[in-house]
Amino acid sequence: MTTEELSSLKIDKSVDARGTACPGPLLAAKKAIGEIQGGQVMEILSADEGTRRDIPKWCTKKGYEYIRVIEDSGYFKLYMRKS
């Protein structure tokens, strides 16, 4: 998905986990996933490098669609869709 396509994507849930280190962002994502429906998109903000690998692997294991990561100033924005 291109950055332009991503910018037009409707974000149904945003989780700001920038204040926590690993495993905080993963736990925050796990908690939040229950609050969205299948087909909805969640954005996870994290300043922890480990999250870049954790979230895609977690999505694969859980059967969710990992969309992509965008690097911002000092943190990452990860996008996924619940199946």
């Binding site: 926590t20 280190a21 495993p23 993963l26 908690k31 977690w58």
Partner: protein, 137 residues
């Protein structure tokens, strides 16, 4: 459902924190987790002892640095990790009956709320035999 069995032997703050991180990772993965609290770790689960748990197993001389780093990184306490994990998935904490007695805990009311039951070593062995992931911490 995949299952992880943890033999939690160490009662030092660094290893309890490490155990909490690992268990919470398993919880995020929806694994069933069974924690068997053995000898030295049981002290941390007896009511009234939580503030006494502050030693490090590794690099004990770096305790201040360890503590400050956890605060700076906003890392949860080991108890918070256990609590979060129990909220997320099926995490059971069992106290080895011998270990509990060593630190003054004989009945369920002697232990903090994280504890689900008191068990013997045979239950741990059975759990370990059935587990997909088995850790000794």
């Amino acid at each position: 459902m995949a299952k992880m069995t943890v033999a939690l032997f160490s009662g030092s703050i660094d290893k309890l924190t490490g155990a909490g991180v690992v268990i919470s990772g398993a919880a995020a993965d929806d694994m069933d987790v069974e924690v068997f609290v053995l000898l030295m770790a049981a002290r941390a689960f007896v009511k009234g002892n939580q503030d006494k748990i502050d030693g490090l197993s590794e690099y004990p001389e770096l305790k201040d640095e360890f503590t400050k780093s956890l605060e700076r990184l906003n890392v949860s306490t080991w108890i918070e990790f256990f609590e979060m994990s129990k909220e997320l998935t099926n995490v059971k904490v069992y106290i080895c009956s011998l270990a509990g007695k060593m630190w003054g805990g004989e009945k369920m009311e002697d232990f903090i709320d994280l504890v689900d039951d008191i068990c013997g070593i045979g239950e741990y062995i059975t759990s370990a035999q059935e587990a997909d992931v088995h850790l000794f911490i």
